[in-house]
Amino acid sequence: MKFSIMISEGPYTHQASDSAYLFTKAALEKGHEIFRVFFYHDGVNNGTRLTTPPQDDRNIVNRWSELAQAHKLDLVVCVAAAQRRGIVDPEEAKRNSKDADNIAPGFHISGLGQLIEAGIQADRLVVFGD
């Protein structure tokens, strides 16, 4: 079956990203397809490569990047939500005259239409938030 996932909260502060990650991993293990993981609201904060969590804790951002690479996951960060919160890829940095970017490997920034499409294309959409 084809699943899409929406994540509405950032890493560590709420459990949403943990729950979504473990759900996604379990779905892949059961042979389901993950059409897209869409990061919205504070969820966009999962997509920064600048975190350095304590060494005895999980690394939420890296975990997503690694899962994306292993399974060719489509990790989409909403551009409008990202602009409000300061998640930037090289293209966005250029467009908004920012002197740095912080997007993590495997994530890419795109429009809200990708969320609608995720709903249209997938058999199920599961929301993780606060």
Partner: protein, 129 residues
Amino acid sequence: MSDEMMEDEGTIKKFGYVNRKAPYGTVYALESLEVVLIGAAFDQDVSVIFMDDGVYQLKKGQDTKASGMKNFSPTYRALEGYDVEKLYVEKESMDIRGLSTDDLIVPVEVKSSEEIMQIMEDQDIILSF
């Protein structure tokens, strides 16, 4: 155009948006509205449900001047222009808050909890805020 794009265009799904949070205290109401507006371009069958504190999103007379935030409530009036016409509020949520449809910025249908339940069940996809 790829086959997948073609298929995409042909699919009409029932999209339900469930709004349960008050405006301004958190951004969910505003960012939910942004999804509804973008989603309108996809020609899906859209229903927007307001329950719990979500009904406050539609309260008339919002004025954010003194709090410095962006007043996004007039945008609800634009929904009709995007053919988003199925707006539902749960009666119990309204009653608890002493609200009637006269208090709201747009025309809505008031539904019992039972009816809201059925509307939710009828959706193919639910986006929860």
